[in-house]
């Protein structure tokens, strides 16, 4: 599924958004080691952990996009790092449960139609 579709349907606020890549998986988690162990490639990651290390985890795991939930503050330093590494980042006032549910339904629906 195109990242832009997820962003539009779930009303995510764009912080860093370069290429409109293909998203094939998703993961929700705030523990770095858990994400490290279990997130799949080409994922969108839903988390409240907004710091530079989140970008490092995304790079290592080939996570394409991160959604920061609960309107957590996002530092300029992290934005710069995300831009440099071409990781898309978004922010939303919704909580992780709600956004994950929305993205999940959207992707499942798409898969079912395929």
């Amino acid at each position: 599924m195109k990242l832009s579709k997820i962003v539009d349907v779930c009303h995510l606020e764009k912080i860093v958004f370069g290429t409109d890549c293909e998203i094939s998986n998703g993961y929700c988690g705030d523990l770095m080691s858990d994400v490290m162990a279990n997130a799949r490639t080409n994922s969108i990651w839903i988390t409240i952990q907004a710091h530079k290390n989140s970008i490092a985890v995304a790079i290592i795991k080939d996570i394409k996009a991160i959604v920061f939930t609960n309107n957590v503050p996002v530092s300029q330093e992290m934005i710069d790092k995300a831009e440099e590494e071409e990781i898309a980042i978004f922010i939303t006032g919704k909580d992780s449960f709600t956004v994950s549910g929305e993205i999940y339904s959207l992707m499942e629906d798409k898969t079912a139609k395929d």
């Binding site: 705030d30 080691s33 490092a56 985890v57 790079i59 290592i60 795991k61």
Partner: protein, 313 residues
């Protein structure tokens, strides 16, 4: 979905039944009788060899008839088991030539509702060189599909491998990173750099990712729990990526406990950032092919993890 899956399977088998020759699937150790045999002799043989029919051949090995278990039952029923088979055997025998594909054998078996087909030397010959049953055919198909599966597996493995000379050139190169204690912002740098390095070498994506995860966790461990240390990554002579993480202390008092998933000594502050879940060391162990952890309360902790790169010969 299920439907499509089974169709794909059938396509492969379909190809194979046209490709495989009868001579490559048939049984060559032929059990046969001449026309002077009695039904009782044949019945004993069928029982001993656990087969359900035998061809009847003349001295030239040409086929002149066939006796199946049904014929033997009829002989018992009508009381001629001790007589010679010559007058009773089925004389209209269906055969297939050995150079035909097994699809023709399958057609013949289905068409005449029979369990076995004697195989002739050539289309115009009656000389029997073997016998083919549906289980011979299934056996052969299984072997063929197994061989194909192994080939695919081999090709997959090859795809993951690096050329040998590239490995040789990389042997001397050592990547070294200093990791400061308590420096969250820069932690993760070594792992990112190492990932790019192996990606640049052309290592398989999964292998590269595993190496990067190990580096990341080791790096975070040094940053979160130690007074600082180093990460050294190199390719060893056995073509493993070798990740050595060394710190200046304070050391791990109980290594087994530290390796228990969920066990952590991290502070609240660290855990609020999403670290210290007690999964770092277990992650490293899971993603490494070889793993070694030594710790001393005097000299600090040393971790060595190896990931096989797999080298193209």
């Amino acid at each position: 979905m299920k439907n499509r899956f089974s169709k794909e399977k059938i396509t492969l088998v379909n190809e194979l039944i046209y490709e495989i020759k009868i001579k490559d699937a048939m049984t060559r150790q032929l059990i046969f009788f001449d026309k002077n045999a009695t039904f009782r002799e044949i019945q004993l043989k069928l029982k001993a060899k656990k087969i359900s029919g035998v061809p009847i051949l003349n001295k030239m090995k040409d086929i002149i008839g066939i006796v199946s278990i049904d014929d033997v039952i009829s002989a018992f029923d009508k009381n001629y088991v001790d007589q010679r088979i010559a007058d009773y055997m089925t004389k209209k025998v269906f055969t297939v030539p050995q150079n035909f594909s097994i699809i023709s054998a399958i057609h013949e078996l289905e068409k005449h509702k029979i369990g076995r087909l004697p195989v002739t030397e050539s289309p115009n010959s009656k000389k029997i060189v073997g016998i083919i049953t549906i289980s011979d055919i299934l056996n052969r198909l299984l072997i063929e599909t197994q061989t194909i599966a192994e080939k695919i597996e081999e090709e997959e493995i090859k795809k993951y491998q690096l050329p040998e000379d590239l490995i040789k050139n990389s042997l001397k190169k050592v990547l070294k990173f200093d990791v400061k204690g308590d420096d969250f912002d820069n932690a993760g740098q070594a792992a990112s750099t190492i990932k790019k390095y192996f990606k640049g070498l052309g290592a398989d994506k999964d292998i590269t990712r595993r190496i990067a995860i190990i580096c990341y966790e080791a790096e975070m461990n040094i940053c979160l729990h130690s007074l600082g240390g180093t990460i050294v990554v190199k390719i060893d002579e056995n073509q493993n990526a070798m990740i050595c993480a060394h710190d200046k202390g304070p050391g791990i008092p109980d290594i087994d406990l530290a390796l228990t998933p969920g066990y952590t000594t991290a502070s609240e502050k660290i855990r609020a950032l999403g670290f210290g879940a007690g999964m770092g060391l277990p992650n490293i162990k899971n993603f490494a092919d070889e793993f070694e952890l030594k710790s001393s309360l005097i000299s600090g902790t040393e971790l060595i993890a190896k990931v096989k790169l797999g080298v193209k010969k």
